[in-house]
Protein backbone atom coordinates (compact mmCIF):
# COMPACT_ATOMS: atom_id res chain seq x y z
CA UNK A 1 0.00 0.00 0.00
CA UNK A 2 1.46 3.28 -1.05
CA UNK A 3 1.76 5.64 1.89
CA UNK A 4 1.93 9.35 1.99
CA UNK A 5 5.51 10.30 2.99
CA UNK A 6 4.08 12.21 5.91
CA UNK A 7 2.17 9.16 7.16
CA UNK A 8 5.28 7.10 6.68
CA UNK A 9 7.35 9.40 8.85
CA UNK A 10 4.66 9.48 11.53
CA UNK A 11 4.40 5.71 11.50
CA UNK A 12 8.15 5.28 11.70
CA UNK A 13 8.36 7.74 14.53
CA UNK A 14 5.60 6.14 16.61
CA UNK A 15 7.17 2.74 15.97
CA UNK A 16 10.50 3.98 17.19
CA UNK A 17 8.90 5.39 20.32
CA UNK A 18 7.07 2.15 21.09
CA UNK A 19 10.19 0.08 20.44
CA UNK A 20 12.13 2.34 22.79
CA UNK A 21 9.42 2.07 25.39
CA UNK A 22 9.53 -1.73 25.11
CA UNK A 23 13.27 -2.20 25.25
CA UNK A 24 14.99 0.86 26.67
CA UNK A 25 13.57 0.95 30.21
CA UNK A 26 14.93 -2.47 31.02
CA UNK A 27 18.40 -1.41 29.87
CA UNK A 28 18.59 1.00 32.80
CA UNK A 29 19.53 -1.94 35.03
CA UNK A 30 22.84 -2.26 33.17
CA UNK A 31 24.47 0.97 34.42
CA UNK A 32 22.92 0.46 37.86
CA UNK A 33 24.60 -2.93 38.16
CA UNK A 34 28.04 -1.29 38.12
CA UNK A 35 27.12 1.20 40.85
CA UNK A 36 29.89 1.94 43.34
CA UNK A 37 27.33 2.77 46.06
CA UNK A 38 24.88 0.46 47.75
CA UNK A 39 21.94 2.39 46.41
CA UNK A 40 19.49 2.34 43.54
CA UNK A 41 19.40 6.11 43.11
CA UNK A 42 20.19 7.42 39.63
CA UNK A 43 22.77 8.24 38.35
CA UNK A 44 25.08 5.52 39.66
CA UNK A 45 28.30 6.63 41.29
CA UNK A 46 31.69 5.17 40.38
CA UNK A 47 32.26 1.78 38.89
CA UNK A 48 32.52 -1.63 40.49
CA UNK A 49 32.02 -5.32 39.83
CA UNK A 50 31.10 -6.01 43.46
CA UNK A 51 27.41 -6.75 42.77
CA UNK A 52 28.34 -9.42 40.26
CA UNK A 53 30.77 -10.86 42.76
CA UNK A 54 28.04 -10.77 45.39
CA UNK A 55 25.66 -12.65 43.07
CA UNK A 56 28.22 -15.40 42.63
CA UNK A 57 29.59 -15.56 46.15
CA UNK A 58 26.55 -14.83 48.33
CA UNK A 59 24.82 -18.16 49.01
CA UNK A 60 21.37 -16.51 49.18
CA UNK A 61 21.67 -15.39 45.58
CA UNK A 62 23.46 -18.38 44.13
CA UNK A 63 21.21 -20.88 45.90
CA UNK A 64 18.07 -19.16 44.68
CA UNK A 65 19.44 -19.12 41.16
CA UNK A 66 20.14 -22.85 41.18
CA UNK A 67 16.76 -23.52 42.80
CA UNK A 68 15.07 -21.66 39.96
CA UNK A 69 17.12 -23.53 37.40
CA UNK A 70 16.27 -26.88 38.98
CA UNK A 71 12.56 -26.15 39.28
CA UNK A 72 12.35 -24.71 35.77
CA UNK A 73 14.13 -27.68 34.19
CA UNK A 74 11.86 -30.23 35.86
CA UNK A 75 8.80 -28.13 35.05
CA UNK A 76 9.86 -27.76 31.42
CA UNK A 77 10.11 -31.51 30.97
CA UNK A 78 7.00 -32.36 32.96
CA UNK A 79 4.81 -29.69 31.39
CA UNK A 80 6.02 -30.61 27.92
CA UNK A 81 5.25 -34.29 28.39
CA UNK A 82 1.83 -33.67 29.94
CA UNK A 83 0.98 -30.87 27.53
CA UNK A 84 2.00 -32.83 24.44
CA UNK A 85 0.04 -35.89 25.57
CA UNK A 86 -2.99 -33.70 26.21
CA UNK A 87 -2.63 -32.00 22.82
CA UNK A 88 -2.61 -35.41 21.10
CA UNK A 89 -5.58 -36.52 23.14
CA UNK A 90 -7.55 -33.40 22.31
CA UNK A 91 -6.64 -33.75 18.67
CA UNK A 92 -8.31 -37.13 18.58
CA UNK A 93 -11.48 -36.17 20.41
CA UNK A 94 -14.81 -34.87 19.24
CA UNK A 95 -14.49 -31.18 18.54
CA UNK A 96 -16.95 -30.18 21.22
CA UNK A 97 -15.30 -32.18 24.02
CA UNK A 98 -11.89 -31.06 22.85
CA UNK A 99 -12.98 -27.43 22.87
CA UNK A 100 -14.33 -27.71 26.39
CA UNK A 101 -11.26 -29.48 27.76
CA UNK A 102 -8.98 -27.05 25.99
CA UNK A 103 -10.76 -24.15 27.60
CA UNK A 104 -10.40 -25.82 31.00
CA UNK A 105 -6.71 -26.48 30.47
CA UNK A 106 -6.15 -22.85 29.49
CA UNK A 107 -7.79 -21.42 32.62
CA UNK A 108 -4.49 -21.09 34.51
CA UNK A 109 -3.62 -18.31 32.05
CA UNK A 110 -6.55 -16.12 32.98
CA UNK A 111 -7.14 -16.85 36.67
CA UNK A 112 -5.81 -13.82 38.56
CA UNK A 113 -2.45 -14.74 40.04
CA UNK A 114 -3.20 -13.74 43.61
CA UNK A 115 -6.47 -15.68 43.76
CA UNK A 116 -4.72 -18.80 42.57
CA UNK A 117 -1.85 -18.10 44.93
CA UNK A 118 -4.00 -17.93 48.07
CA UNK A 119 -5.80 -21.10 47.02
CA UNK A 120 -2.62 -23.04 46.42
CA UNK A 121 -1.12 -21.62 49.60
CA UNK A 122 -4.13 -22.79 51.63
CA UNK A 123 -3.91 -26.29 50.18
CA UNK A 124 -0.14 -26.45 50.57
CA UNK A 125 -0.39 -25.40 54.22
CA UNK A 126 -2.65 -28.39 54.82
CA UNK A 127 -0.53 -30.82 52.85
CA UNK A 128 2.89 -29.64 54.07
CA UNK A 129 3.96 -28.65 50.57
CA UNK A 130 5.00 -25.08 51.39
CA UNK A 131 8.65 -24.54 50.55
CA UNK A 132 9.12 -27.93 48.92
CA UNK A 133 10.45 -28.80 45.50
CA UNK A 134 7.33 -30.88 44.80
CA UNK A 135 5.14 -27.92 45.69
CA UNK A 136 6.95 -25.56 43.36
CA UNK A 137 7.09 -28.07 40.51
CA UNK A 138 3.36 -28.87 40.71
CA UNK A 139 2.29 -25.23 40.80
CA UNK A 140 4.64 -24.10 38.05
CA UNK A 141 3.78 -27.06 35.85
CA UNK A 142 0.10 -26.25 35.80
CA UNK A 143 0.91 -22.63 35.01
CA UNK A 144 3.25 -23.65 32.18
CA UNK A 145 0.97 -26.31 30.71
CA UNK A 146 -1.23 -23.93 28.65
CA UNK A 147 1.79 -22.65 26.74
CA UNK A 148 2.84 -26.16 25.76
CA UNK A 149 -0.72 -27.05 24.80
CA UNK A 150 -1.07 -24.00 22.57
CA UNK A 151 2.29 -24.53 20.89
CA UNK A 152 1.82 -28.24 20.22
CA UNK A 153 -1.80 -27.85 19.12
CA UNK A 154 -0.77 -25.16 16.68
CA UNK A 155 1.76 -27.45 15.06
CA UNK A 156 -0.67 -30.38 15.04
CA UNK A 157 -3.20 -28.21 13.23
CA UNK A 158 -0.95 -27.56 10.26
CA UNK A 159 0.37 -31.10 10.30
CA UNK A 160 -0.86 -33.12 7.35
CA UNK A 161 -2.34 -36.31 8.78
CA UNK A 162 -2.16 -38.03 5.42
CA UNK A 163 1.55 -38.40 6.06
CA UNK A 164 0.77 -40.68 9.00
CA UNK A 165 -1.62 -42.69 6.88
CA UNK A 166 1.01 -42.95 4.18
CA UNK A 167 3.61 -44.20 6.63
CA UNK A 168 1.17 -46.72 8.05
CA UNK A 169 0.24 -47.95 4.58
CA UNK A 170 3.91 -48.49 3.88
CA UNK A 171 3.96 -50.88 6.80
CA UNK A 172 5.25 -48.73 9.64
CA UNK A 173 3.92 -49.60 13.09
CA UNK A 174 2.13 -46.99 15.15
CA UNK A 175 5.17 -46.27 17.28
CA UNK A 176 7.48 -46.17 14.30
CA UNK A 177 5.10 -43.79 12.51
CA UNK A 178 5.04 -41.56 15.53
CA UNK A 179 8.80 -41.55 15.86
CA UNK A 180 9.79 -41.17 12.24
CA UNK A 181 6.96 -39.05 10.87
CA UNK A 182 4.84 -37.29 13.49
CA UNK A 183 7.48 -36.33 16.01
CA UNK A 184 9.97 -34.70 13.63
CA UNK A 185 7.19 -32.67 12.04
CA UNK A 186 5.76 -31.31 15.26
CA UNK A 187 9.13 -31.05 17.01
CA UNK A 188 9.35 -27.27 16.54
CA UNK A 189 6.02 -26.90 18.35
CA UNK A 190 7.13 -29.12 21.21
CA UNK A 191 10.43 -27.30 21.45
CA UNK A 192 8.82 -23.88 21.62
CA UNK A 193 6.41 -25.25 24.25
CA UNK A 194 9.40 -26.51 26.23
CA UNK A 195 11.07 -23.10 26.09
CA UNK A 196 7.88 -21.31 27.12
CA UNK A 197 7.39 -23.72 30.00
CA UNK A 198 10.94 -23.16 31.17
CA UNK A 199 10.58 -19.39 30.98
CA UNK A 200 7.20 -19.43 32.73
CA UNK A 201 8.60 -21.34 35.66
CA UNK A 202 11.87 -19.44 35.80
CA UNK A 203 9.98 -16.15 35.89
CA UNK A 204 7.01 -17.13 38.08
CA UNK A 205 6.66 -14.86 41.07
CA UNK A 206 3.16 -14.48 42.49
CA UNK A 207 2.41 -18.08 43.50
CA UNK A 208 6.07 -18.52 44.42
CA UNK A 209 5.90 -15.59 46.86
CA UNK A 210 3.16 -17.39 48.76
CA UNK A 211 4.55 -20.93 48.77
CA UNK A 212 8.16 -20.05 49.47
CA UNK A 213 9.94 -20.51 52.80
CA UNK A 214 13.53 -20.13 53.96
CA UNK A 215 14.46 -23.60 52.79
CA UNK A 216 13.41 -23.02 49.21
CA UNK A 217 13.49 -19.64 47.52
CA UNK A 218 13.52 -19.10 43.80
CA UNK A 219 15.34 -16.30 42.03
CA UNK A 220 12.29 -14.05 41.40
CA UNK A 221 11.35 -14.35 45.08
CA UNK A 222 14.87 -13.42 46.08
CA UNK A 223 14.81 -10.46 43.67
CA UNK A 224 11.45 -9.29 44.96
CA UNK A 225 12.41 -9.49 48.60
CA UNK A 226 15.70 -7.78 47.87
CA UNK A 227 13.88 -4.89 46.19
CA UNK A 228 11.43 -4.51 49.04
CA UNK A 229 13.86 -4.98 51.93
CA UNK A 230 17.04 -3.49 50.62
CA UNK A 231 18.35 -1.05 48.05
CA UNK A 232 20.84 -3.61 46.80
CA UNK A 233 22.25 -3.22 43.25
CA UNK A 234 22.79 -6.99 43.12
CA UNK A 235 19.27 -7.12 41.67
CA UNK A 236 20.49 -4.93 38.83
CA UNK A 237 23.43 -7.27 38.24
CA UNK A 238 21.09 -10.27 38.13
CA UNK A 239 18.81 -8.35 35.78
CA UNK A 240 21.70 -7.58 33.47
CA UNK A 241 22.80 -11.22 33.38
CA UNK A 242 19.25 -12.38 32.61
CA UNK A 243 18.88 -9.70 29.95
CA UNK A 244 22.07 -10.79 28.17
CA UNK A 245 21.16 -14.47 28.35
CA UNK A 246 17.68 -13.80 26.94
CA UNK A 247 18.91 -11.62 24.11
CA UNK A 248 21.48 -14.20 23.05
CA UNK A 249 18.93 -17.03 23.20
CA UNK A 250 16.19 -15.22 21.28
CA UNK A 251 18.58 -13.60 18.85
CA UNK A 252 20.24 -16.95 18.20
CA UNK A 253 16.89 -18.69 17.85
CA UNK A 254 15.52 -16.17 15.37
CA UNK A 255 18.78 -16.23 13.42
CA UNK A 256 18.75 -20.03 13.19
CA UNK A 257 15.09 -20.07 12.25
CA UNK A 258 15.69 -17.50 9.56
CA UNK A 259 18.59 -19.51 8.14
CA UNK A 260 16.68 -22.74 8.21
CA UNK A 261 13.75 -21.22 6.40
CA UNK A 262 15.99 -19.82 3.73
CA UNK A 263 17.71 -23.18 3.45
CA UNK A 264 14.41 -24.92 2.90
CA UNK A 265 13.36 -22.59 0.16
Amino acid sequence: MAMHPCTRVMLGLSCLLVALWLVAPTLVVVPMSFNGNKSLAFPPVGFSWQWYENFVSNPEWSTSFFNSLKVALIVAVLATVLGTLAAFGLDRMKARTAGLLRMLLLTPMVVPGVVLAIGIYAVYLDTQLVGTLTGFVLAHTILALPFVLIAVQASLEVFDKRLETAAASLGAGRLATFRTVTLPLIAPGILSGLLFAFATSFDEIIVSLFITNPYLKTLPVQIFSSITRDADPTVAAVGTILLCATTILIGGGLFLMGRERRGNL
Partner: protein, 290 residues
Protein backbone atom coordinates in the same frame (compact mmCIF):
# COMPACT_ATOMS: atom_id res chain seq x y z
CA UNK B 1 -2.99 -16.96 21.45
CA UNK B 2 -5.28 -18.05 18.67
CA UNK B 3 -8.83 -19.05 19.41
CA UNK B 4 -9.32 -21.41 16.55
CA UNK B 5 -12.13 -23.88 16.73
CA UNK B 6 -11.63 -24.79 13.13
CA UNK B 7 -10.71 -28.38 13.79
CA UNK B 8 -12.10 -30.73 11.14
CA UNK B 9 -14.91 -32.76 12.59
CA UNK B 10 -14.74 -35.54 10.03
CA UNK B 11 -11.24 -36.61 11.06
CA UNK B 12 -12.20 -36.79 14.69
CA UNK B 13 -15.39 -38.67 13.96
CA UNK B 14 -13.55 -41.40 12.11
CA UNK B 15 -11.45 -41.98 15.15
CA UNK B 16 -14.30 -41.78 17.59
CA UNK B 17 -14.32 -45.56 17.91
CA UNK B 18 -11.31 -45.50 20.24
CA UNK B 19 -13.12 -43.30 22.67
CA UNK B 20 -11.07 -43.70 25.82
CA UNK B 21 -7.59 -43.51 24.36
CA UNK B 22 -7.63 -39.75 23.75
CA UNK B 23 -9.07 -39.07 27.16
CA UNK B 24 -6.36 -41.21 28.75
CA UNK B 25 -3.78 -39.05 26.99
CA UNK B 26 -5.25 -35.87 28.39
CA UNK B 27 -5.93 -37.38 31.79
CA UNK B 28 -2.63 -36.61 33.56
CA UNK B 29 -2.91 -32.94 32.61
CA UNK B 30 -6.55 -32.84 33.70
CA UNK B 31 -5.77 -34.48 37.04
CA UNK B 32 -3.06 -31.93 37.71
CA UNK B 33 -5.51 -29.20 36.73
CA UNK B 34 -8.08 -30.45 39.21
CA UNK B 35 -5.52 -30.85 42.00
CA UNK B 36 -3.55 -27.65 41.60
CA UNK B 37 -6.16 -25.25 40.17
CA UNK B 38 -9.61 -26.69 40.76
CA UNK B 39 -9.27 -27.76 44.36
CA UNK B 40 -7.41 -24.61 45.49
CA UNK B 41 -9.99 -22.36 43.85
CA UNK B 42 -12.72 -24.41 45.49
CA UNK B 43 -10.95 -23.88 48.82
CA UNK B 44 -10.95 -20.12 48.23
CA UNK B 45 -14.68 -20.09 47.51
CA UNK B 46 -15.37 -22.34 50.47
CA UNK B 47 -13.37 -20.20 52.87
CA UNK B 48 -15.08 -17.05 51.62
CA UNK B 49 -18.38 -18.61 52.66
CA UNK B 50 -17.31 -20.39 55.83
CA UNK B 51 -14.73 -18.30 57.68
CA UNK B 52 -15.09 -17.30 60.41
CA UNK B 53 -18.59 -18.79 60.14
CA UNK B 54 -20.99 -19.92 57.43
CA UNK B 55 -22.83 -17.22 55.54
CA UNK B 56 -22.47 -14.31 53.17
CA UNK B 57 -20.88 -12.05 55.82
CA UNK B 58 -17.63 -11.64 53.88
CA UNK B 59 -19.43 -10.52 50.74
CA UNK B 60 -21.66 -8.18 52.72
CA UNK B 61 -18.52 -6.77 54.30
CA UNK B 62 -16.83 -6.41 50.91
CA UNK B 63 -19.65 -4.49 49.26
CA UNK B 64 -20.49 -2.59 52.43
CA UNK B 65 -17.04 -1.12 52.96
CA UNK B 66 -16.35 2.02 50.92
CA UNK B 67 -12.59 1.41 50.76
CA UNK B 68 -13.12 -1.88 48.99
CA UNK B 69 -15.44 -0.34 46.43
CA UNK B 70 -12.97 2.44 45.77
CA UNK B 71 -10.23 -0.11 45.18
CA UNK B 72 -12.51 -2.25 43.02
CA UNK B 73 -13.42 0.72 40.89
CA UNK B 74 -9.78 1.78 40.70
CA UNK B 75 -8.75 -1.69 39.60
CA UNK B 76 -11.13 -1.42 36.64
CA UNK B 77 -10.10 2.16 35.87
CA UNK B 78 -6.41 1.35 35.86
CA UNK B 79 -7.00 -1.74 33.73
CA UNK B 80 -9.04 0.32 31.26
CA UNK B 81 -6.31 2.93 30.99
CA UNK B 82 -3.68 0.26 30.49
CA UNK B 83 -5.78 -1.32 27.75
CA UNK B 84 -6.32 2.01 26.04
CA UNK B 85 -2.62 2.88 26.14
CA UNK B 86 -1.78 -0.56 24.77
CA UNK B 87 -4.22 -0.29 21.86
CA UNK B 88 -2.98 3.15 20.88
CA UNK B 89 0.66 2.13 21.09
CA UNK B 90 0.30 -1.30 19.54
CA UNK B 91 -1.82 -0.43 16.53
CA UNK B 92 0.71 1.50 14.45
CA UNK B 93 3.48 -0.81 15.63
CA UNK B 94 1.69 -3.99 14.57
CA UNK B 95 0.79 -2.36 11.28
CA UNK B 96 4.40 -1.43 10.67
CA UNK B 97 5.37 -5.05 11.33
CA UNK B 98 3.21 -6.09 8.38
CA UNK B 99 4.42 -3.31 6.12
CA UNK B 100 8.22 -3.48 6.41
CA UNK B 101 10.79 -5.80 4.87
CA UNK B 102 11.89 -9.06 6.52
CA UNK B 103 15.01 -7.61 8.19
CA UNK B 104 13.14 -4.72 9.80
CA UNK B 105 10.35 -7.12 10.78
CA UNK B 106 12.86 -9.31 12.56
CA UNK B 107 14.10 -6.30 14.46
CA UNK B 108 10.58 -5.18 15.39
CA UNK B 109 9.69 -8.71 16.49
CA UNK B 110 12.82 -8.88 18.59
CA UNK B 111 11.83 -5.64 20.31
CA UNK B 112 8.48 -7.19 21.24
CA UNK B 113 9.89 -10.52 22.30
CA UNK B 114 12.85 -9.48 24.43
CA UNK B 115 10.86 -7.74 27.15
CA UNK B 116 8.32 -10.58 26.88
CA UNK B 117 11.05 -12.98 27.95
CA UNK B 118 12.92 -10.85 30.44
CA UNK B 119 11.93 -11.47 34.03
CA UNK B 120 8.90 -9.42 34.96
CA UNK B 121 10.36 -8.54 38.35
CA UNK B 122 13.49 -7.18 36.73
CA UNK B 123 11.44 -5.06 34.36
CA UNK B 124 9.46 -3.64 37.24
CA UNK B 125 12.71 -2.92 39.05
CA UNK B 126 13.81 -0.99 35.97
CA UNK B 127 10.66 1.10 36.21
CA UNK B 128 11.33 1.82 39.85
CA UNK B 129 14.77 3.10 38.90
CA UNK B 130 13.29 5.20 36.10
CA UNK B 131 10.27 6.66 37.84
CA UNK B 132 11.49 7.32 41.38
CA UNK B 133 12.17 10.90 42.35
CA UNK B 134 15.90 10.30 42.13
CA UNK B 135 15.28 8.30 38.97
CA UNK B 136 16.30 8.77 35.37
CA UNK B 137 13.30 10.86 34.33
CA UNK B 138 13.35 13.24 37.27
CA UNK B 139 17.14 13.58 37.27
CA UNK B 140 16.93 14.61 33.63
CA UNK B 141 14.10 17.05 34.27
CA UNK B 142 16.01 18.57 37.15
CA UNK B 143 19.14 18.93 35.02
CA UNK B 144 17.06 20.81 32.47
CA UNK B 145 15.52 22.85 35.27
CA UNK B 146 12.01 21.67 34.46
CA UNK B 147 10.86 20.80 37.98
CA UNK B 148 9.80 17.31 38.79
CA UNK B 149 7.04 14.90 37.90
CA UNK B 150 5.46 12.78 40.55
CA UNK B 151 5.50 9.35 38.94
CA UNK B 152 6.30 6.66 41.46
CA UNK B 153 3.49 5.84 43.90
CA UNK B 154 0.94 7.33 41.49
CA UNK B 155 -1.61 5.78 39.17
CA UNK B 156 0.22 7.27 36.19
CA UNK B 157 3.37 5.41 37.14
CA UNK B 158 1.47 2.15 37.59
CA UNK B 159 -0.23 2.55 34.20
CA UNK B 160 3.05 3.31 32.42
CA UNK B 161 4.74 0.27 33.95
CA UNK B 162 1.84 -2.12 33.49
CA UNK B 163 1.21 -1.07 29.89
CA UNK B 164 4.81 -1.79 29.02
CA UNK B 165 4.65 -5.25 30.56
CA UNK B 166 1.38 -6.03 28.77
CA UNK B 167 2.09 -4.43 25.40
CA UNK B 168 3.37 -7.64 23.74
CA UNK B 169 0.03 -9.30 24.52
CA UNK B 170 -1.60 -6.56 22.45
CA UNK B 171 0.90 -6.40 19.59
CA UNK B 172 1.09 -10.12 18.83
CA UNK B 173 -2.65 -10.82 18.29
CA UNK B 174 -3.00 -7.56 16.37
CA UNK B 175 -0.10 -8.49 14.14
CA UNK B 176 -1.45 -11.95 13.46
CA UNK B 177 -4.79 -10.48 12.33
CA UNK B 178 -3.27 -7.63 10.32
CA UNK B 179 -0.92 -10.03 8.58
CA UNK B 180 -3.94 -11.79 7.11
CA UNK B 181 -5.71 -8.67 5.83
CA UNK B 182 -5.83 -8.53 2.07
CA UNK B 183 -4.45 -5.14 1.16
CA UNK B 184 -6.00 -5.34 -2.29
CA UNK B 185 -9.30 -4.50 -0.59
CA UNK B 186 -7.86 -1.22 0.53
CA UNK B 187 -6.43 -0.57 -2.89
CA UNK B 188 -9.79 -1.31 -4.42
CA UNK B 189 -11.53 1.22 -2.22
CA UNK B 190 -8.84 3.76 -3.05
CA UNK B 191 -9.29 3.19 -6.77
CA UNK B 192 -13.00 3.67 -6.28
CA UNK B 193 -12.20 7.17 -5.08
CA UNK B 194 -12.01 6.85 -1.31
CA UNK B 195 -9.55 9.11 0.45
CA UNK B 196 -6.73 7.32 2.33
CA UNK B 197 -8.39 8.23 5.61
CA UNK B 198 -11.75 6.96 4.46
CA UNK B 199 -10.20 3.80 3.09
CA UNK B 200 -8.56 3.22 6.43
CA UNK B 201 -11.68 3.78 8.49
CA UNK B 202 -14.14 1.91 6.26
CA UNK B 203 -11.98 -0.98 5.11
CA UNK B 204 -8.78 -1.55 7.06
CA UNK B 205 -9.89 -0.68 10.56
CA UNK B 206 -12.97 -2.96 10.60
CA UNK B 207 -10.87 -5.82 9.27
CA UNK B 208 -8.31 -5.35 12.02
CA UNK B 209 -10.87 -5.09 14.82
CA UNK B 210 -10.80 -8.80 15.76
CA UNK B 211 -7.15 -8.35 16.63
CA UNK B 212 -7.96 -5.27 18.67
CA UNK B 213 -10.68 -7.13 20.55
CA UNK B 214 -8.55 -10.19 21.21
CA UNK B 215 -5.61 -8.12 22.40
CA UNK B 216 -7.74 -5.75 24.46
CA UNK B 217 -9.53 -8.57 26.26
CA UNK B 218 -6.29 -10.34 27.09
CA UNK B 219 -4.64 -7.15 28.29
CA UNK B 220 -7.64 -6.06 30.34
CA UNK B 221 -8.02 -9.43 32.05
CA UNK B 222 -4.34 -9.75 32.82
CA UNK B 223 -4.32 -6.16 34.11
CA UNK B 224 -7.20 -6.86 36.50
CA UNK B 225 -5.12 -9.46 38.31
CA UNK B 226 -1.84 -7.56 38.33
CA UNK B 227 0.08 -7.73 41.55
CA UNK B 228 3.81 -7.16 41.28
CA UNK B 229 3.83 -3.90 39.32
CA UNK B 230 1.27 -2.05 41.48
CA UNK B 231 2.97 -3.43 44.59
CA UNK B 232 6.35 -1.97 43.62
CA UNK B 233 5.37 1.11 41.61
CA UNK B 234 2.17 2.09 43.35
CA UNK B 235 1.33 3.82 46.58
CA UNK B 236 -1.71 3.59 48.82
CA UNK B 237 -3.69 5.59 46.31
CA UNK B 238 -2.98 3.16 43.51
CA UNK B 239 -3.66 -0.04 45.42
CA UNK B 240 -5.33 -2.66 43.27
CA UNK B 241 -7.56 -5.52 44.30
CA UNK B 242 -4.77 -8.12 44.22
CA UNK B 243 -2.78 -6.23 46.83
CA UNK B 244 -5.86 -6.05 49.04
CA UNK B 245 -6.38 -9.81 48.74
CA UNK B 246 -2.75 -10.45 49.63
CA UNK B 247 -3.00 -8.06 52.57
CA UNK B 248 -6.15 -9.71 53.95
CA UNK B 249 -4.65 -13.18 53.76
CA UNK B 250 -0.99 -12.66 54.61
CA UNK B 251 -1.12 -9.68 56.96
CA UNK B 252 -4.54 -9.97 58.58
CA UNK B 253 -5.15 -13.72 58.23
CA UNK B 254 -8.69 -12.99 57.14
CA UNK B 255 -8.98 -15.94 54.80
CA UNK B 256 -12.72 -15.38 54.51
CA UNK B 257 -12.49 -11.74 53.49
CA UNK B 258 -9.49 -12.29 51.28
CA UNK B 259 -11.31 -15.21 49.70
CA UNK B 260 -14.42 -13.12 49.06
CA UNK B 261 -12.31 -10.46 47.36
CA UNK B 262 -10.62 -13.15 45.33
CA UNK B 263 -13.95 -14.60 44.26
CA UNK B 264 -15.14 -11.15 43.16
CA UNK B 265 -11.98 -10.74 41.09
CA UNK B 266 -12.37 -14.22 39.66
CA UNK B 267 -16.01 -13.68 38.76
CA UNK B 268 -15.23 -10.35 37.10
CA UNK B 269 -12.61 -12.13 35.00
CA UNK B 270 -14.87 -14.97 33.96
CA UNK B 271 -17.82 -12.71 33.19
CA UNK B 272 -15.62 -10.61 30.96
CA UNK B 273 -14.32 -13.70 29.22
CA UNK B 274 -17.82 -15.02 28.71
CA UNK B 275 -18.98 -11.69 27.30
CA UNK B 276 -15.94 -11.38 25.09
CA UNK B 277 -15.93 -14.94 23.80
CA UNK B 278 -18.86 -14.68 21.37
CA UNK B 279 -17.82 -11.17 20.34
CA UNK B 280 -14.33 -12.31 19.45
CA UNK B 281 -15.46 -15.43 17.69
CA UNK B 282 -18.00 -13.57 15.60
CA UNK B 283 -15.54 -10.92 14.56
CA UNK B 284 -12.98 -13.58 13.89
CA UNK B 285 -15.30 -15.31 11.45
CA UNK B 286 -16.20 -12.06 9.76
CA UNK B 287 -12.57 -11.27 9.37
CA UNK B 288 -11.88 -14.69 7.95
CA UNK B 289 -14.78 -14.43 5.50
CA UNK B 290 -13.79 -11.09 4.11
Amino acid sequence: MSTSDTRSDSGAASRARRNWGPLALALPALLLLVGVIGYPLFTVVLRSLSQPEWGLQNYIWFFGTPVNLVVLQRTFTISAWVTLVCVVAAYPYAYAMTAVGPKARLLLTLCVLIPFWVSGVVRTLAWVILLQDSGVINSTLRALDLGRLRLIRTQTGVVIGMAQVLLPFMILPLYSVMKGIDLRLVQASRSLGASPLRAFFTVYLPLSLPGVYAGAIIVFILALGFYITPALLGGPRSTMLSTLVQNQVLSLLQWGRGGAMGVVLLLATFILLALAGPLMRQKHKQGARS
